[in-house]
Symmetry: C2
């Protein structure tokens, strides 16, 4: 297979971890006889610095001409402390999602046997956990109308959802559940929000198309609690944009390190694959960033194009690296861990 | 001191736990020579059944004539499964908050030594945790305009905040921090939401009035993760309505049981004191509900009126009951636990 892959390394540790994912994808291409072409473009704070725009036209053009996007991370503390800045790195990410219609963000969360003791949660609680979160990604309060009055004393954000927006991501979640434990949990706040009531109604309708999948409901406050009390109860979690943002970061504690979690943002013509950890500016350039999330995102990319064998090989390589403790310091027990590059090399060699 | 206390037991286990709190307050009145008068009124599902209204005028009248409200719980699964019902129990609670201007919801979260092993989190993570959440309670997406088009295909909820709404709850949070560990963490999503950017701006201004208190910021997704990774880093958490709802339920896992967590909703002329657990309909009438959250809410009520000694006595009694394991089954280790009533009796006797 021939794939043109746009690489958007972004800020902080983005470039260094993405480098490892590329290395691994190249090894896969060699081993399985594919052609993967990589082209880089700017996004985020670095794009603002160089062009004044967090998502330059060049970048959009490259992504449009590609089959998939491999994304690093964005964000810089310099902008966080000035939330009223007109141009912010996050806008690049949000516009990318919207522009390319990536309405579904998929985040698998698994408790790796080898890392059970890394979690702040007790082993007995997390052992065996295998959750997949389907977060709606181009609607809701992220993209609704915003306002700030002239005196800067009243602000608002509109959370809006249409039936179609709910349906398309819901179908993906139910389909995923069919090849998993056949359970979808819709997380909402239907006792308060009108949009949540629409979600409940639409999703209940759609569930009828999937008689082999069971559907249950949880209010978001309760879900935030249940994720910690008993994560094993979940299979596929389906939820709206803001709730998905919160719950998926929260759920990352199950895996022992956010440095392990990959994600796919799909729905439009071009899918995007990225680690869920952010730019982690404190670690930038130190060679201590965990590249596994980025490497597993590359595996999700292959999965997306039906290259299951190839994706499986990457996952096996990652599991082997965990088993042999060829890992960065965030998840290493015995020693201070090895470098970002060393983890990438090992996984490359294994393939 | 003479206090008229409106008692709103509500649904599910509400009545049985509230009964214990009343018992304890009566013991305090006797011991410390106060006069507490209790009058009951309807709220929630039971109020809908008896009057068609989740917050009958009678109830409002009683509350207006009282110094404080002791609240049980509301909610009935029969309504949850029908989110499109025109009348729902939650409306009673929301209208009560709005009607009486309870703009600040205060939820203390503590890891009790005796219960460290009850939490799904590891002891080393939670030991020593002592957090107080200040949640804005009468603004944001809970009370903004809602809409549903005629075809029932597009729904919306408006999240709105004014400078004043932010200021008044922020002042309370900073004041609380002054008599604690002198740290306020504002949780928001300023990289996406206009309302969050207003929160950050207004709270940053207010912080100048409290030079002895440090202020830091956390995005809500990160906060949901940090609460589990390292809860000890927090002192006072200040946040808007929806985020506060999610984070405070999530944080309840630290205490080992949601059956321990009390809350106060204050700001207007009449404050309301309630356990944060819900109506827990499955446990109703079985005598297994943990009354401690309701009893500690009664202590918060006394605290609110400056009756510190009295509040302290209740807290001591609760700690003693934990120490001696005179507790309900949710937190009991040795045995199957004692009844709701028995826990109340012990605490009453201790006082
Ligand atoms: C950076 C930010 C805008 C983004 C989001 O909130 O969606 C991030 O937290 C994520 O989850 O990908
Ligand atoms: C019952 C519900 C409306 C309420 C809320 O969301 O505020 C509850 O979850 C709470 O936190 O008190």
């Amino acid at each position: 297979m021939k794939l043109n892959i746009a690489v958007l390394p972004g800020d902080g540790i983005g470039p260094e971890v993405t480098q490892q994912a590329i290395k691994v994808l190249k090894a896969v291409a060699l081993e399985f006889d594919h052609t993967f072409n990589f082209k880089e473009a700017l996004v985020g704070a670095i794009a603002i610095e160089e062009t004044g725009n967090p998502l330059p036209d060049e970048t959009i053009k490259l992504c449009k001409a590609s089959n998939a996007i491999l994304f690093g991370a964005i964000g810089d503390p310099k902008f966080d402390n000035d939330p009223s800045a007109k141009v912010r790195p996050e806008q690049g990410l949000l516009r990318l999602r919207k522009e390319f219609g990536m309405f579904a963000n998929i985040r698998p969360i698994k408790a790796y046997e080898k890392l059970l003791d890394k979690s702040p949660l007790k082993e007995a609680i997390i052992k065996g956990t295998d959750i997949c979160i389907y977060r709606e990604l181009t609607g809701g309060i992220y993209f609704g109308e915003k306002s700030l009055n002239e005196e800067k004393t009243i602000a608002s954000d509109l959370c809006q959802y249409s039936k179609e927006e709910i349906e398309r991501v819901a179908h993906l979640a139910f389909k995923a559940a069919q090849s998993r434990k056949k359970k979808v949990t819709l997380v909402d706040k239907a006792n308060v929000l009108e949009t949540s009531r629409l979600w409940r109604k639409v999703v209940t309708e759609i569930a009828k198309d999937y008689p082999d999948v069971s559907l249950d409901f949880l209010f978001v406050d309760n879900a935030a609690m249940q994720l910690i009390l008993n994560p094993k109860q979940f299979d596929v979690i389906l939820t709206e944009n803001m709730f998905g943002d919160i719950l998926s970061d929260e759920a990352s504690v199950i895996g022992g390190s956010i440095g392990l979690l990959a994600s796919a943002s799909i729905g439009g013509k071009v899918g995007m694959f990225e680690p869920i950890h952010g730019s982690f500016p404190q670690a930038k350039g130190k060679g201590i960033a965990n590249p596994i999330a980025s490497i597993l995102s590359a595996a999700m990319l292959l999965e997306h194009f039906g290259l299951h064998k190839e994706a499986r090989r990457i996952q096996q390589a990652v599991e082997k690296s965990l088993e042999l403790e060829i890992t960065t310091s965030d998840i290493s027990t015995k020693n201070s861990g090895v470098s970002t590059n060393r983890v990438g090399d090992f996984i490359e060699d294994f393939i």
